[in-house]
């Protein structure tokens, strides 16, 4: 990372103001932000959701979403005024000199066309290359991005390649016209830590190789620390501060930035281990479960004791969520059994008694789909209260209010709202309240914080920890984020390909020696050190990241 500020300015945004239309009025989204990007420089944009990062990133292309307008300020890209540019001028720029990489490659690729066809579209349309040249160049780019089988992968359809590979194919596509500027809009947020590294390394490598300037939008500070030369922090449409990566990490000036940096420091005190003869609340014994004829869990066993949190970690497809489905009874296992307080639970949830169902509750990853959008908060929380406890009328209302108090939302404001009127973190709290309403002993938390910003996620973790202390709950905490594990778990179960690879108390798990897979997971978690990725790559060898190293285990 050399000093790029001495180089000519590529993109200049002056006092940019952006408004969005809602309820027939224009409400400001960005209130006068300045942004300067030099040639070959990578700028990190960070902030919580709703801070206007994506809107600002799109505005750098002279583009706004429907119902959004640029109401003031100027955007100059290499001498071209993007605010007043004609549609024809912008067509010449976009895709050719400015490219965009979206958060979800799976949703951004057209599933009906092969990767290489979509890759070649822009160069051919812009006349920078013939179809054959574009294809050849695409294969070369795939090779540079270290995609497996670069000669063939382009001729597959999007659903035939994995998420991380698709994301890299999208980076290749953005590179197809060798643009001067690429906007990366949270390109790794939806990926596992192990895949994330590959994509990060690929992006960093190719951006440096072609001397491309980039705006890297993310809410993950550790990621931005690896990628950016400079970092700009946004809060609700205002710039909080901007400086180069190292000084930003070492001495942030503003309180808000400090609070962002401090999030990862939340940690619960270690609890004494459970008594040797204690009956676990939930005991999973020798579970082998299958979807159809294919086994996805192989002989999985673990115990969860009263008042303790067991974190189940592993990358996607490792069987974490399937284990949860077995415990809830949604997927009756082929072999093995599940015990609740020493009593064997019927394998199918339909055969369980109301009381057994009550004891095991679940909190979901996507609060959007976990709450019925047509029911008010009062109805959502009130239903289990009425269903299990038989409370009605006044007493039900009081109980719901009490539950809302427990999750730190004032009842009078929230009782009659619909889920769509709440923020992501508030929705997740409602999900917690619904689980609490059943007065369970055991709650499964399925990636409850992975869709949330770090500040909000930390609030949820603190709430869960407090509730555990107050109510003596046991949690099974499914996650792929090891920072979360570090802050909340008492015990850790590492899963891979449907098997338990390693399990034990948390302090032990974070202390070497590890199982190689645990080691891979642990070392893949980005750290707040700008040299972390460089060092890691050096350590693992350039060709030995991600997939490659995972295969060696």
């Amino acid at each position: 990372m050399t000093d790029t500020t001495a180089r000519p300015v590529l993109l200049q945004m002056r006092d940019i103001r952006i408004e969005g239309r809602s309820d027939e009025t224009w409400t400001p989204i960005i209130n006068g932000v300045d942004l300067t990007l030099h040639k070959g420089e990578v700028l990190g944009l960070i902030g919580e959701s709703g801070a206007g990062k994506s809107t600002l990133g799109l505005a750098a292309m002279g583009f706004t979403r429907d119902g959004v307008r640029i109401s003031g300020g100027s955007i100059t890209f290499d001498g071209i005024d993007l605010v007043n540019a004609s549609a024809e001028q912008k067509r010449q720029l976009l895709g050719k000199r400015i490219a965009y990489v979206a958060q979800s490659a799976a949703a951004s690729f057209n599933p009906a066309h092969k990767l290489i066809d979509q890759h070649a579209e822009a160069p051919v349309a812009h006349g920078t290359a013939t179809r054959a040249e574009a294809e050849e160049d695409g294969i070369e780019l795939y090779r540079k991005l270290r995609l497996p089988n670069p000669d063939e992968i382009g001729f597959r359809y999007p659903h035939q390649v994995s998420g991380g590979q698709l994301q890299r194919a999208m980076v290749a596509m953005a590179m197809s016209c060798r643009p001067d500027l690429i906007i990366f809009d949270e390109p790794t947020t939806a990926l596992d830590v192990t895949t994330q590294i590959e994509v990060l390394a690929a992006i960093r490598h190719i951006v440096a190789e072609f001397d491309t300037a980039a705006i890297y939008i993310t809410h993950d500070l550790a990621v931005v620390a690896q990628m950016a030369d400079r970092i700009k922090v946004l809060l609700r449409g205002d710039e909080v501060e901007e400086s180069d990566t190292r000084s930003m990490l070492e001495q942030p000036q503003e309180d808000y930035t400090k609070s962002l940096w401090a999030v990862r420091e939340f940690q619960r005190p270690d609890k004494p281990p459970p008594a040797v003869d204690a009956t676990p609340v939930i005991s999973v014994q020798g579970i082998t479960a299958a979807y159809g004829k294919i086994d996805v869990l192989h002989d999985v066993s673990f115990d969860i004791h009263a008042g303790r949190t067991v974190a189940v970690v592993g990358e996607s497809g490792s069987g974490k969520s399937t284990a949860a489905r077995v415990i809830t009874g949604l997927l009756p296992p082929r072999v093995g059994q599940v015990e609740l307080d020493g009593e064997t639970l019927p394998l199918d949830y339909r055969k369980r008694s109301k009381d057994q169902l009550r004891q095991v509750q679940m909190i979901y990853q996507m609060a959007d789909t976990a709450l019925n959008p047509r029911k008010t908060i009062g109805e959502i929380i009130g239903r289990p209260v009425q269903f299990y406890m038989g409370l009605r009328g006044r007493r039900k209302r009081d109980r719901v209010a009490e539950l809302l108090d427990q999750i730190e939302l004032p009842p009078e404001t929230y009782l009659d709202r619909l889920p769509s009127e709440l923020s992501g973190g508030q929705k997740q709290r409602i999900g917690i309240a619904r689980a609490l309403a059943a007065e369970p002993r055991f709650i499964i938390c399925d990636e409850v914080t992975s869709a949330l910003d770090q500040l909000v996620a930390e609030g949820i973790l603190r709430l869960l920890a407090r509730l555990q202390d107050e109510l003596g709950l046991s949690y099974m905490f499914i996650t792929h984020d090891l920072a979360t594990v570090r802050s909340i778990a008492d015990e850790v179960v590492v899963m891979k390909d449907g098997r338990v690879v390693e399990q034990g108390p948390k302090p032990e798990m974070f202390r070497p020696p590890h199982h190689p897979y645990t080691d891979l997971l642990l070392s893949s978690v980005p750290e707040m050190d700008p040299d972390w990725l460089t060092n890691l790559l050096k350590e693992r060898g350039v060709d030995d990241i991600g997939d490659a190293s995972a295969d060696k285990i």
Partner: protein, 399 residues
């Protein structure tokens, strides 16, 4: 010069006008984005619509009667259509204005965001509903009363073959057409409404049940529906009606059979839709949460799934209502639907259909069947306006 050459010349003229118009627009506004970024196709569209409007005004101003005193049918009908359009637009506008200032704050808010088309649709549906419910009070005569004068023309002017006692004229056996149109609203619309409701209760609940239960129940129901849908619906309805007519001892029983037959045939479409919508909702986590809570089927379907399926189902209800309504009119037109002496628009069109042949000589005579047909068309259009609006609103909510 043939008509085709003229059309070709007109198109070329429009194409040139579009280019010139866009060019002038750019110059005059100093390259405002609206003109600067306008694709040629859009400019052509504007020019085309403009040309169409000019033609409409010109045609409207043509004399409706030739110098010899014979009416020009085309111009007359065009004027009627334009007048109707203007009257409807003004009525819809006034209705929306009324809605914006009268009523609860919720309805006022509803009307504030309502497009004119939707206001028109709501107005027409309201008027039809009032006519249908209060038909005996509003209609000047009974639906089966026969008068001396047959085939009186609409307009109520004796000089043009009308009768002031029958403002919309009488049919071939001397029944007052205004009364029959009003009673027709009661019979046709009322029966269509009941039929559609039945089709939705049947198809909707089975569809949701299939979505929740899956497995053999879903297979059984879906294949049965496939079989029913494979038979052309109108012919199937005719066939079943013929069978039913053998059992019907009284004419009202035939109507009841018809309601059931059409409801069953139409419920197949509703089943398909509600099953598809239900499938998308069933995979949601909140349904899983409800299942794990131990909720029963009834709660799942009516309290968790149904509220989320209202938008597509209501939209389908509007469309289905139109189709049912048209099916009943067709069946009546073919003679197996609503039985005389009950007034029904389909039957009225059939009975008066031969008068359409006089359109070229006497537009008023041709208006006799057009009134009943227009009543059907108006309701269909109105319902579709409202449905479009609701679809738009529900898709807007998702954003």
């Amino acid at each position: 010069m043939s008509v085709w050459t003229m059309i070709l010349i007109a198109l070329v003229a429009i194409a040139v006008a579009a280019w010139v118009g866009r060019f002038v627009g750019r110059r005059a506004t100093g390259n405002a984005p609206r003109f600067r970024d306008m694709p040629y196709a859009v400019a052509f569209g504007y020019a085309f619509v403009l040309a169409l409007l000019v033609w409409a005004v010109w045609y409207y101003l043509q004399p409706a009667v030739t110098e010899a005193g014979a009416p020009v049918a085309g111009v007359t009908f065009f004027r009627w259509a334009v007048h109707a359009l203007i009257v409807f637009a003004i009525a819809a506008f006034l209705f929306r204005l009324l809605g914006r200032h009268v009523g609860t704050s919720a309805t006022r808010k509803l009307f504030r965001h309502m497009p004119l088309t939707a206001a028109f649709g709501v107005l027409v549906i309201l008027v039809y509903a009032i006519l249908a419910i209060f038909a005996p009070l509003i209609a000047p005569y009974g639906q089966a009363v026969v008068f001396d004068q047959v085939n009186a023309l609409p307009g109520g002017n004796p000089a043009t073959g009308g009768n002031p006692a029958h403002p919309l004229g009488t049919d071939q056996i001397g029944r007052d057409l205004l009364s029959r149109l009003i009673y027709g609203a009661q019979n046709t619309v009322g029966i269509a409404f009941v039929t559609t409701l039945l089709a939705f209760v049947l198809g909707g609940s089975l569809g949701f049940l299939a979505a929740v239960l899956r497995g053999w129940f879903d297979q059984l129901m879906s294949r049965a529906v496939d079989v029913l849908m494979a038979i052309p619906s109108l012919i199937f309805a005719l066939l079943l009606m013929t069978i039913a007519s053998a059992w019907a001892t009284q004419s009202w029983m035939l109507t009841v059979y018809m309601v059931f037959i059409i409801a069953v045939i139409d419920s197949t479409r509703v089943f398909r839709l509600s099953r598809a919508v239900g499938m998308n909702i069933v995979v949601m986590d909140y349904i899983e949460a409800a299942k794990l809570r131990g909720e029963g089927l009834g709660y799942l379907i009516f309290r968790e799934i149904l509220p989320n399926a209202y938008a597509p189902l209501l939209a389908e209800f509007g469309l289905r209502f139109c189709f049912v309504f048209l099916t009943i009119a067709s069946l009546s037109f073919l003679g197996v639907g609503i039985q005389p002496p009950l007034a029904d628009w389909g039957t009225m069109v059939r009975d008066l259909a031969q008068f359409i042949n006089f359109a070229a000589f006497s537009p008023l005579t041709a208006a006799l069947p057009i009134m009943a047909a227009g009543a059907i068309a108006l309701l269909t259009v109105a319902v579709n306006f409202v449905v479009d609006w609701m679809l738009h609103r529900s898709s807007g909510l998702k954003e």
